[in-house]
């Protein structure tokens, strides 16, 4: 290629831009425009002329509405922690490959391919009042009355876990098994036991993948909608913020208010991501500092 001065666009740059254009256009039309339109809509309440924050004020002054934020966090945060922790535990222990790995992975991944509705149907049948799970516990004499595991908080948690665990597990397994085993081996020969290896060597190397896993699972959990309706109490204990937005849009036909709720939901998701990024930075720093310096 001919040499070029700084700042002068090269043929390659033009080519790259030309290649980028279709996807850029897609993102603009399918994502940026609806997103900005949603924000615009949320600032134009039905009952007010011109721009106003009335919808936002309405949301935060109505307990029935702002309660949904708390409910969603109570579902999303524990679910995210449990899903990521379980995935990490399993993926870390499977990093060197295990017996029947393919079979185990297939079984774990199956729920993803089934879709939420079928999964919910299965959970209702299996964990329901007269389902196998309760029948088994009753039969073993471990409980006297059926446990209520569906149409409540637990039901939604179960469903979220089953949807997100395989996804998160696979992502972490790929990430962890991609780390050169000789790094771990060298730490062992330098005197580190398995726990020290995990804490000081592997965890900092897994941290970026772990942060992505946390972020994705959190965002998915926070936006939960079908699970909260099918396996929870959509009008009470599991009325998540997504249900609130849906109700405004398609039951009250108040699109601007629904948009405002959606924007609020997005902001909380962003806040969650920010916390994860900060935590990740701290985790890496803590691990890099030597034990001698603590």
């Amino acid at each position: 290629m001919r040499p070029r001065r700084a700042g002068e666009p090269s043929e390659l740059d033009l080519m790259a831009m030309a290649c980028l254009a279709p996807s850029l256009l897609y993102v603009l039309v399918m994502f940026v425009y609806p997103f900005l339109y949603g924000i615009y809509l949320s600032l134009r309440p039905l009952k007010v002329d011109g721009f106003s924050l009335a919808n936002y004020i309405a949301f935060f002054s109505d307990q029935y509405q702002y309660k949904t934020v708390g409910i969603t966090f109570r579902l999303a945060v524990p679910n995210t922690v449990v899903v990521v922790a379980f995935s990490l535990l399993l993926a870390y222990n499977m990093r060197r490959g295990v017996w029947l790995e393919r079979t185990i992975t297939t079984i774990l991944v199956l729920p993803i391919s089934l879709g939420v509705i079928l999964l919910a149907q299965g959970i209702l049948g299996f964990y329901g009042g007269r389902g196998w799970f309760n029948q088994m516990l009753l039969g073993l004499g471990l409980i006297e009355d059926s446990l209520v595991l569906t149409h409540n908080f637990t039901g939604v948690m179960l469903s979220l876990f089953m949807q997100q665990f395989p996804f998160c597990f696979l992502m972490l397994l790929g990430y962890i098994s991609g780390i050169d085993p000789s790094i771990e081996n060298s730490a062992r020969t330098l005197g580190a036991g398995p726990w020290t290896v995990f804490q000081r060597v592997m965890l900092p190397l897994i941290a970026p993948g772990l942060a992505i896993a946390f972020a994705l699972v959190f965002v998915m959990s926070f936006a939960t909608f079908p699970s909260a309706i099918l396996l929870g109490q959509p009008t009470g204990a599991t009325r998540t913020i997504a249900i609130a937005a849906y109700a405004q849009a398609f039951e009250m036909y108040d699109m601007p208010y629904a948009s405002a709720i959606a924007v609020i939901m997005g902001l909380f998701q962003l806040a969650g991501l920010l916390v994860i990024i900060l935590l990740r930075r701290r985790m890496v720093l803590a691990a890099t500092m030597g034990v001698g310096k603590r």
Binding site: I183, T189, L190, G191, L205, V291, G292
Partner: protein
């Protein structure tokens, strides 16, 4: 500094599923020596090293160190240093963090750690590199840091798993000398795994040639180089010309005369052969003399087929009158099509047993 070991003794078998990668591989290593496990890929040499390090469990067998059985100990309890082919530095730690890692685990005082890291960086000739990250270093520098990280703990045994394989040719020669210098100056006991016979010969006090999980030959570099026990070792040690022959006469002092392919070849052997036995005659390309008297012993006529320029000399492929191929390194500038006399000096010819069972070939 902690004293190095007196002896390391092991006899190990390793199976992965149905595949046996080490078959009763046994050896006794004495302290302050440089031992090399040499063999082609898949011969089990790295597996043996990993078993000694404790990173892989043996299927069967024992490892003894100075009269103490250690094969049940996890790697972190063995006190060995290990250097890996791909350096295996901790990418999230600085050079200081990497070298200090083991010392920090031993909860040494900060001042001592700093001092010992500095000494190690001097030893590997990278002073002042404390603050760099592995990603900012070249391959050769990374391997020096890996060596420093292993040595800072004063290991009683240093294990090196093909440490130079990822480096380019020039750097490899440089680092080879470096490893030898460090080994000698610190009085270490080292076990070195390689598939490169030049590395093995130049570094070692003792070379162990392996194939298919078996020990084929162990000896000093001179023994391995001059008196390979079979065709496999000879091939590995640079013998390129092999001829199937039959023993016709045995003289005193292990002299042998053999015929085959219309050639009569004289030389010496370390093996005992019966008259009439099939033997393989071997000679290195460098030892064949081009020119001379065709009437003398071990002299033949050959036609030049291919000439490859190697710089100081040419590699020439010839066809002997018997039809056999002959590889020769010579400074004589030959032309394809030439008919030239070649001589196998009897003192350079070796006689080996023909391929037999049990990995003897």
């Amino acid at each position: 500094m902690k004293e190095t070991i007196e002896s390391l003794r092991f006899r190990i078998t390793k199976r992965f599923g149905a595949k046996t990668v080490l078959k009763d591989f046994g050896l006794e290593v004495r302290g302050r020596q440089f031992i090399t496990f040499l063999g082609p890929s898949g011969c089990g040499k790295s597996t043996a090293l990993n078993i000694i390090a404790g990173l892989i469990p043996a299927t069967d067998g024992e490892v003894w160190l100075d009269g103490e059985r250690i094969d049940h100990l996890p790697p972190e309890k063995r006190g060995f240093g290990m250097v890996f082919q791909n350096y295996a530095l901790f990418p999230h730690m600085t050079v200081f963090g990497n070298i200090a890692f083991g010392l920090q685990l031993q909860r040494r005082p900060a001042a001592e750690i700093a001092e010992r890291v500095r000494q190690m960086l001097d030893l590997v000739q990278l002073p002042g590199f404390e603050g760099r990250y592995p990603g900012q270093l070249s391959g050769g520098q990374q391997q020096r840091i890996a060596i420093a990280r292993a040595l800072v703990l004063h290991p009683r045994l240093l294990l090196l798993d093909e440490p130079l394989s990822n480096l380019d040719a020039k750097l490899r020669i440089e680092m080879r000398a470096e490893i030898k210098r460090i080994h000698t100056s610190l009085g270490l006991t080292s076990i070195y795994v390689t598939h490169d016979q030049v590395e093995a010969l130049s570094l070692s006090d003792w070379v162990v040639v392996m194939r298919d999980g078996l020990l084929i030959q162990a000896g000093t570099p001179q023994e391995i180089h001059d008196q390979p026990v079979n065709v496999f070792v000879a091939d590995f040690m640079g013998f390129r010309n092999f001829f199937q022959t039959q023993v016709v006469a045995l003289g005193p002092d292990r002299e042998v005369e053999a015929t085959g392919n219309g050639m009569k070849i004289r030389g010496k052997t370390r093996h005992t052969f019966a008259p009439g036995a099939s033997v393989v005659v071997a000679i290195r390309p460098d030892d064949v003399v081009v020119g001379g008297d065709v009437g003398g012993p071990n002299a033949f006529r050959a036609k030049v087929d291919i000439v490859e320029y190697l710089g100081r000399e040419d590699e020439v492929i010839l066809t002997l009158e018997s039809g056999a191929r002959l590889w020769v390194h010579t400074e004589a500038r030959l032309t394809p099509g030439d008919l030239v006399p070649v001589v196998f000096p009897p003192e350079k010819v070796i006689f080996l047993p023909t391929e037999g069972p049990g990995g003897t070939a």
